[in-house]
């Protein structure tokens, strides 16, 4: 059993930002399933939105975000996000972030989708990477105790509050109990439930599923962002910066087809709008090959591409064998971001006392039904910092009781992973179930949804869950037991898949990224509310309506 005042789970932008908020000498531990610099925050390319320019304003940023969210975002949280943005960007500047610069030397800003102003601060097209490494460096400077390749297994609650964490050290193959006064989940999204996703292998939603199992309320799981431009086939992300810096989308006839769907914003309409437009073009027979669209950068010229979009150019070259200054890049939409997550207030507190959540793991909700490009990176640092600050206040509280009953239960759950005479993975396997899950999610819970297909998806996922229940892994304290990790991750993902499909089936309207062919209109009288999800006594999800916070902006028609 080990002990720390503050425990942060997740070493991406949110977790690291929370960690560096603590003054030196504070007892902060950071547990991460991979080395922090391997976190998927590093794959983010576009930038961090903040109203920094004189002719931009926080109010503009708030309005763009509210409209982008299709009015489902909580306006009080959005105001927090946007108003703290500029200050946090300046703080990152002090910390050493290598921002790209204007001729005057200030952090440069570019246009991203759904924004009325070029307000994304960036570092070429490696913005996430640049800030991730800077924050990692600050965490080293601050003496944060880092436990790399430790996996969260279960949250331990005593007397209704968080008392500790059961974790698995991958290198030694041993379980450890970590007691703490307060913990933050910053474990990112769960894009890997989809076959076609930009997300890395680690993005399996562990923290979200574990919090749910421990009784935390989740929300808005039906809202899944599909990024319009991922490389055709591999779904590797091609940054929205490619369009922000002037790239065009073209169909088989070479037309800039966005003129049909978003005549004002064109390629820089929000992602939900652009992804639907791309699929519509393909559906109507104007796609290329077996179903892709071209992202054309050729008119930008090699010099601009190399300066502003070096990674985009490299990725296209390596994975699609395309020289982006000469030939358009073949792209298709794919899952990119989870708007839903653990329901939290603006101080990042979950429904479990002593447990906080922030970043993509959480739903605060600043993105509502659709996230704007550049707002999630901002969310990681703004709410990461807020979580850090809140934990510093909470750390003065007395130590929760030592985990006893909860630990016994967790250890017995743990034992259930291992097989004694249970069917080994001979005719079925985590790989087979995972493939089926990914296919169901991408085919039936994707950009265009129908009640019939969502119902089918729920039934098929339930079958997968029973197949999964029959699987066991060989017991033993093996180091780097990847087989065990695969097994646990699949369990988390199946749980999250069912809720995503279930919430999508339940919401009989179209809003933001959730588009129902059978209910193609937004329906404010019936559905202008969050979907809250908690685990019932029988282990099944219970869905309820939650209030959306309004401050200044009443719902309007959302044209671009």
């Amino acid at each position: 059993m080990i002990f720390h005042d503050i425990v942060i789970v997740g070493g991406g932008l949110t977790g690291l930002m929370a960690a560096v908020e603590a003054p030196p000498g504070t007892d902060v531990a950071l547990i991460s399933k991979i080395y922090p610099t391997r976190s998927h925050s590093g794959a983010a390319q576009g930038g961090f939105n903040a109203a920094m320019a004189e002719d931009d304003s926080v109010e503009n940023h708030v309005f763009d975000t509210v409209k982008g969210s299709d009015y489902l975002g909580d306006q009080d949280a959005i105001e927090t996000l946007c108003s703290e943005g500029p200050e946090v960007i300046r703080k990152l500047e002090q910390m050493g972030v290598p921002w790209s610069r204007t001729p005057e030397g200030r952090p440069a800003q570019r246009s991203l989708g759904g924004a009325s102003f070029p307000r994304a601060c960036y570092s070429a097209d490696i913005s996430g990477h640049a800030v991730l490494h800077t924050l990692y460096e600050r965490a080293l400077a601050a003496g944060v105790r880092i436990y790399p390749e430790w996996h969260l297994v279960e949250l331990l609650l005593e007397e209704g509050r968080l008392a500790g964490l059961l974790v698995y050290d991958l290198a030694t193959g041993r379980l450890e109990v970590v007691r703490c006064r307060v913990a933050l989940l910053a474990t990112g999204g769960y894009g890997r439930i989809f076959r076609k996703t930009t997300n890395g292998h680690a993005n399996t939603g562990d923290g979200t599923a574990i919090a749910y199992r421990a009784g935390a309320v989740l929300s808005d799981m039906e809202f899944v962002q599909f990024h319009p431009t991922t490389l055709y086939g591999t779904n590797i992300l091609i940054s929205e910066a490619a369009r922000g810096d002037g790239g065009y989308l073209r169909n088989a006839a070479g037309e800039r087809f966005m003129a049909r769907y978003a005549p004002q914003k064109m390629e820089l309409a929000p992602r939900d709008v652009v992804s639907r437009s791309i699929f519509q073009e393909i559906k109507d027979g104007r796609g290329l090959g077996e179903g892709y669209i071209n992202l054309d950068l050729t008119h930008l010229g090699a010099d601009k591409i190399h300066r502003l979009l070096p990674q985009v150019n490299e990725l296209a070259h390596l994975y699609a064998a395309v020289d982006s200054s000469q030939t358009p890049i073949p792209i298709e939409p794919a899952q990119h971001y989870s708007m839903g997550g653990i329901r939290v207030n603006r101080d990042c507190e979950t429904s479990i006392p002593g447990l906080l959540a922030a970043g993509e793991t959480a739903n605060v909700s600043v993105h509502g039904a659709n996230r704007l490009g550049g707002n999630s990176l901002l969310e990681t640092v703004v709410f990461g910092r807020r979580a850090g600050r809140r934990m510093l206040e909470m750390v003065k509280r007395p130590m929760p009781p030592r985990p006893r009953v909860s630990l016994e239960r967790a250890l017995s759950n743990w034992q259930a992973n291992f097989g004694v005479g249970a069917p080994r993975q001979s005719d079925d396997s985590v790989f087979a179930i995972r493939e089926d899950m990914g296919r169901i999610m991408t085919d039936k819970v994707g950009v265009f949804r129908t009640g019939v297909e969502l119902k089918q998806a729920m039934e098929e996922l339930a079958v997968l869950r029973s197949r999964y229940a029959a699987l066991r892994v060989p017991a033993g304290e093996h180091s780097f037991n990847q087989q065990l990790i695969d097994h646990m991750e699949l369990g988390f993902m199946l749980e999250l898949s069912e809720m995503t499909a279930g919430a999508a089936w339940r919401r009989t309207e179209s809003r933001g990224a959730h588009f129902r062919i059978d209910y193609p209109r937004r329906n404010d009288p019936d559905w202008l509310h969050h979907t809250l999800i908690r685990r019932g006594d029988d282990g099944r999800p219970i869905y309820e309506a939650g209030t959306v916070a309004f401050t200044r902006f009443q719902p309007q028609e959302r044209g671009y």
């Binding site: 610099t37 800077t134 292998h201 490299e314 790989f431």
Partner: protein
């Protein structure tokens, strides 16, 4: 097409020494070494290797592929084998093998920590940096800490390769209070740094070309 993947296996719990195991996998022309490793793992779920982003930005999957240290996710099978045949994969050399292709990264990150790898922001910083200077910082800041340079370049002086890249990145940052003083601790002459720069440009998966550092 079929490929014979010869992978160096080692499990400290059951093996006295590393051994080679051959997996036969199907592959297609667009696939990377990481893609075929994932197929090998379906044949033996106990096969251990690190991976995450699969797009060359996280640095997890550095290993020795056909005798060259590189990232599995940004190495196309066809580039290292032509039309197939066989491909040998070993853990990153110079690092302790923990299991199969997983190596001990603790000494690597400890060496990095010794150079104080963060900007020590001077009080005079006004938040302004010219685009030219910023471009010089950006190139070494592309480093993903994959470990390939530590594996491939013999250490020259007290600072390991990736830590030296970080040193240069910080030395050219006008915010940093130590600035070019940092190069003294690296114990490299201008000539030594030039040699390192050339070696790095040839092997770095991100193709980092270190900017010149003006030393007093």
């Amino acid at each position: 097409m079929q490929l014979r993947l010869i992978i160096e296996r080692f499990d400290p719990q059951t093996n006295d020494a590393a051994y080679r195991q051959t997996f036969t996998v199907d592959w297609e022309r667009h696939e990377t070494v990481l893609d075929v490793l994932l197929k090998a793992r379906r044949q033996d779920p106990a096969l251990a290797f690190r991976r995450s982003c699969r797009s060359g930005i996280c640095g997890s999957c550095a290993m020795q592929i056909g005798n060259i240290s590189r990232l599995a996710c940004q190495t196309l099978v066809r580039d290292v084998t032509g039309d197939g045949g066989e491909l040998e994969i070993k853990p990153l050399p110079g690092f302790r093998q923990l299991k199969d292709l997983v190596v001990d990264l603790e000494p690597f990150f400890a060496a990095l920590k010794r150079v104080l790898p963060w900007v020590i922001t001077g009080p005079h910083h006004d938040g302004l940096i010219s685009p030219e200077v910023s471009a010089r910082i950006e190139t070494p800041a592309t480093c993903i800490l994959c470990g390939v340079c530590d594996a491939a370049i013999p250490q020259n002086g007290p600072v390991t390769s990736a830590a030296l890249v970080k040193n240069v990145r910080l030395a050219v940052d006008p915010r940093d209070a130590l600035g070019s003083e940092r190069m003294k601790s690296a114990g490299l002459t201008g000539e030594g740094l030039q040699t390192f720069r050339e070696l790095l440009a040839n092997i770095c998966p991100k193709g980092i070309k270190l900017p010149p550092v003006v030393q007093e």
